[in-house]
Symmetry: C2
Subunit: 269 residues, 2 copies
């Protein structure tokens, strides 16, 4: 993807993200039809579906050779990341959306031949747009984010993680996770993976760890965090599979390997 066509694609994606966000804000004043997908924790709303359809229609019309992988399943049956693929979560943080009417985001990652080129995370109600183009830095509302500050250690870390990691679960020994909580400075839980990635990029969090995410949850975030020097792998330190759900650790580079070796690998069942 050359620089000028990438810039054009970014401007188009940005326009659609802001337009979709504005539509969501308008719809927030109408009653929502809430449906449950697999359980009460996995709420799907009509707004979620409509927002994905908004992207599907525009992308298929303007870029008929692009693929679209989306949470709600209105996109394509993507088998591999050849050519240009949009990976979209129309509303990341659905529980926040339904329950709080804020703290959710539109997440759009654009990959070419499996390389992340453009990432957009739009915190809709706060009207904050994070974006990055590969090798051109990360931005918050158009203002360039600095590289992650150098003086981060595990002892000073504020980590995003959800509470299930600290309860008995199939994947991780919660007792090792308890040790991690006692080691670091603090833990936060915001309920939107995309926003937590954006906070890592801003240095608001030093890392974010989660047992299971899907590509649309992290596709944009990985590109943005990478631009300020952050690392993303799964919890055992391996490369993230962009077509599979799996565990995720995104963090400051000072603590990434230590978190994996001293905590997540030890906790792995």
């Amino acid at each position: 993807m050359n620089t000028s066509s990438r810039n054009e694609l970014f401007q188009q994606a940005k326009q659609w993200v802001l337009e979709a966000g504005a539509n969501i804000r308008t719809q927030m004043i109408q009653p929502m039809e809430i449906d449950t997908k697999s359980n009460a924790n996995d709420l799907v709303t009509s707004v979620d579906k409509k927002t994905e359809q908004f992207f599907v229609e525009r992308i298929h019309q303007h870029y008929p050779d692009h693929q679209l992988l989306g949470e709600e399943g209105y996109g394509d049956d993507v088998k591999e990341l050849t050519g240009v693929t949009w990976i979209i979560d129309p509303i990341d943080g659905t529980m926040n959306f339904v329950h709080q009417k804020r703290n959710f985001a539109i997440s759009v990652g654009i990959y070419q031949d499996a390389v992340g080129e453009i990432g957009l995370i739009y915190d809709v109600m706060n009207d904050v747009l994070y974006h990055a183009l590969r090798d051109e830095g990360a931005y918050r509302n158009g203002e360039k984010l600095p590289q992650l500050k150098p003086d981060v250690t595990l002892e000073t870390t504020v980590l995003g993680m959800n509470h299930y990691m600290l309860c008995p679960n199939r994947l991780l020994d919660e007792q090792v996770m308890h040790q991690l909580v006692k080691k670091i400075r603090g833990v936060r839980t915001y309920g939107s993976a995309a926003i937590e990635f954006a906070y890592v990029a801003e240095g608001i969090l030093d890392g974010y760890a989660v047992m299971r995410l899907s590509p649309w949850d992290f596709a944009a975030g990985m590109i943005i965090v990478h631009e300020v020097g952050g690392l993303t792998t799964n919890l055992t330190g391996n490369a993230v599979d962009m077509l599979q759900s799996g565990s995720i650790l995104v963090s400051h580079p000072n603590i990434h390997q230590q978190l994996i070796e001293e905590y997540f690998i030890k906790a792995k069942k």
Copy 2:
């Protein structure tokens, strides 16, 4: 306290809170002197101290017969809540303040003869002021908050709690807390008790539970939450002591007793 003198006091308190907040925003661009009180989790900054002194000076000058109980200790040695007492946390959420430069609040509760009359919580960086006067409702940036919605159950609850409750600790059996996490819809952690009280008042959270808070952390929040129908007790269901640190449960009335009986009393060591 009659209505007109209470209104005057509220207007004065509001003006000082907004002024203190503006001062903090100005100081955010200067480097902070960070000191540690008892441990790394309990950061005290010069801004914290300056902000408390700001209130101490003004209150002593304008209201020489009022008492002031503040986190940083520049106030009075308050033994009982006779007369008018200001209970102030100059910066609630100090770790957020230092680490995130946002998501912290100024908390001011004004009590007369132990009755909460005026509560103010100012989310400084987001410029959002929550306030309440007893029996006159709660407000967010001047807009009246509705009463808490009627259809809350434990299964649909989103609860604010920190992660230490889920790790082995001296006060609560963490295994009972794990059951609670599995019962409810979701858990969030924002790192500022005052803001979490405000979120309960808004219905963003259905409750907030914590093992240990001090009066300045909850003095304003209790007044605000009470005005929309929420309840505040300690974790065993007893009245909160306004002069002592202790556990706190603030929540929607539908779930308050159930949380205490089915979880917190069972978990108590």
